[in-house]
């Protein structure tokens, strides 16, 4: 894998999907990485870049699904075709996708990595939970998704048979999934300033120790952490 660099890319398009926005960036030779990996996106007018999961990876395009929860995400949702923004990735550890009995489980904006995952994995079964019907519109991005809306919870859609679960969503949902499926691969979130292990801002407690989520995750119980993140020139040359 080549070393990620900060690149400038043009917005190819931006569309509302329910409450979220799908931001399409020209790919121009960027690696997409593995489903569950993320990019740091620069945000005009903001100092810290922000992390977003790869949602769609086409030959000419990388797309991110963005939930406008605060000032920076609101700016990203308003970007227009032709504007340039910086991005940096792919970063972190993605999902292991070569599993036998796959099931993708998403909650809310946690659907973001699954359109790409479904594509890579040949459209496995997917269950998605949302708080409102407007948010549930994002399910259209994932073929064959079974969808529920609160008060029904997405964990109720997980079948009682052993499956290899890949999950992404809010913290309470991930804990619930973990309780049902202890070996599920879970994609977590924490505030991130760098995305490559430099700031120690994204630390979470793992096995009683403080660990950087951007280095050890965001997917945990997944692949073992791969260091270094920003590879050596030499390794790059070999890649």
């Amino acid at each position: 894998m080549a070393s990620p660099r900060r690149e400038q890319r043009r917005v190819g398009g931006s569309e509302r999907i329910g409450l979220y926005t799908l931001l399409r960036l020209e790919r121009g030779g960027l690696e997409a990485g593995l489903p569950g990996q993320f990019f740091m996106l620069d945000v005009p007018g903001h100092i810290m870049p922000r992390p977003f999961s790869i949602c769609l990876a086409e030959k000419d395009e990388l797309a991110f699904l963005i939930n406008p929860v605060g000032p920076a995400t609101r700016v990203l949702c308003e970007l227009e075709r032709g504007q340039k923004i910086g991005l940096f990735g792919p970063l972190g550890n993605g999902f292991r996708t070569d599993v036998k009995r796959p099931l993708l489980v998403g909650g809310g904006i946690g659907v973001a990595p699954f359109p790409y995952a479904a594509q890579v994995m040949g459209n496995p079964p997917v269950v998605l939970g949302f708080r409102t019907a407007r948010q549930a519109e994002a399910a259209q991005l994932v073929p064959k998704a079974e969808v529920c809306i609160e008060p029904q919870l997405v964990t109720e859609l997980i079948p009682g048979v052993p499956m290899d679960v890949l999950a992404c969503g809010p913290e309470p949902m991930l804990h619930a999934v973990h309780a049902l499926v202890p070996d599920a691969q879970l994609a977590w979130e924490a505030p991130m300033a760098c995305g490559f292990g430099a700031c120690y801002g994204c630390v979470v407690e793992l096995d009683g120790k403080s660990r950087r989520l951007c280095v050890e995750g965001p997917v945990l119980n997944g692949r073992p952490p791969a260091l270094p993140l920003i590879d050596d020139e030499e390794e790059e040359a070999e890649a």
């Binding site: 100092i47 810290m48 924490a190 300033a193 760098c194 430099a198 120690y200 920003i230």
Partner: protein
């Protein structure tokens, strides 16, 4: 000379970036492991960044066993930043790390805004470290000193070989709606562009007070070569990049190139020639 600011780069996760520096400075190490402050630890402000990492580190023993050997493999000069709660703490870390020949210098973090103010005076800590180590000792001072130049001359008398100026400011940001602190710890370290004039002032005053006799690493809000040149003109002999690295891994090379150009444009053949230029009586 371009360094990173302590705590703003991990050479093990980003060796390519570390190698683009002249010297790599590791994150502060304390005698015992510290798990740091609660989440959230980061918040953006209008013109800077607020953090409350809280000196999270594995402690000096685990650092020496697991991390130092891998830093040595990088094959580049590096410094270790040293922290603690009292002079004995600092001395213990200095003594332990000072054994290693690979370590070019020790930076004494006398100034972390995210741990309670060190009870011991800065000069006392420096003296205790000087007693146990022959390595170059850089005293990293806080901007929250009534008279930074006085502390600077004090630590130099106590045995410091150089100064690192400055650590982050104490800042607070509240949540837009709940009005509660955005950081788990409440108050945090405020870094970035907003503090640039504060760092410049500290370097200027300490250079004046020390008459340029010791090296000074200037730190605070540097994002480009012109801002690095400003620090050098104020009296820095080297410049460290902090939070700019989070968003721009190419910053060391870019700042180095820009610095050379900005110096040349003002008639200095090398950036180092501009050291202290802000103090020279005007030619015109």
């Amino acid at each position: 000379m371009i360094l990173n600011a302590s705590g703003c780069l991990d050479a093990l996760t980003a060796p390519r970036v570390a190698r683009s520096l002249d010297i790599y400075v590791a994150k502060t190490i304390t005698p015992e492991p510290m798990s740091g402050n609660p989440q959230p630890r980061l918040a953006e402000t209008d013109f800077g960044l607020l953090n409350s990492i809280g000196l999270q580190n594995p402690g000096v023993e685990s650092f020496c066993a697991e991390i130092l050997p891998r830093l040595e493999e990088l094959g580049m000069p590096f410094w270790i930043s040293v922290g603690g709660a009292n002079a004995a703490d600092y001395a213990r870390v200095c003594e332990r790390i000072g054994e290693r020949e690979s370590v070019s210098a020790l930076e004494l973090n006398l100034s972390c805004p995210n741990v309670d103010p060190a009870a011991a005076g800065a000069a006392e800590i420096v003296a205790a470290c000087r007693a146990v180590s022959d390595k170059p000792l850089y005293a990293k001072l806080s901007p929250h000193l009534p008279d930074v130049a006085e502390v600077a001359t004090g630590v130099i008398e106590a045995g410091a070989s150089g100064l690192t100026l400055v650590n982050s400011l104490r800042g607070l940001v509240l949540d837009e709606w709940t009005l509660e602190p955005r950081l788990g710890r409440g108050v945090g370290g405020y870094s970035g562009a907003a503090m640039r004039p504060v760092a410049l002032a500290a370097v200027y005053l300490c250079y004046e007070a020390t008459k340029g006799a010791v090296p000074i690493v200037g730190v605070g809000g540097v994002q480009n070569g012109k801002q690095a040149l400003d620090l050098i003109a104020a009296g820095a002999s080297a410049v460290a990049l902090g939070s700019v690295l989070f968003g721009d891994l190419e910053a060391p090379e870019r700042v180095r190139t820009e610095l050379e150009q900005e110096a040349l444009a003002r008639g200095f053949e090398r950036p180092g020639e501009a050291r202290g230029a802000a103090h020279r009586p005007s030619a015109g």
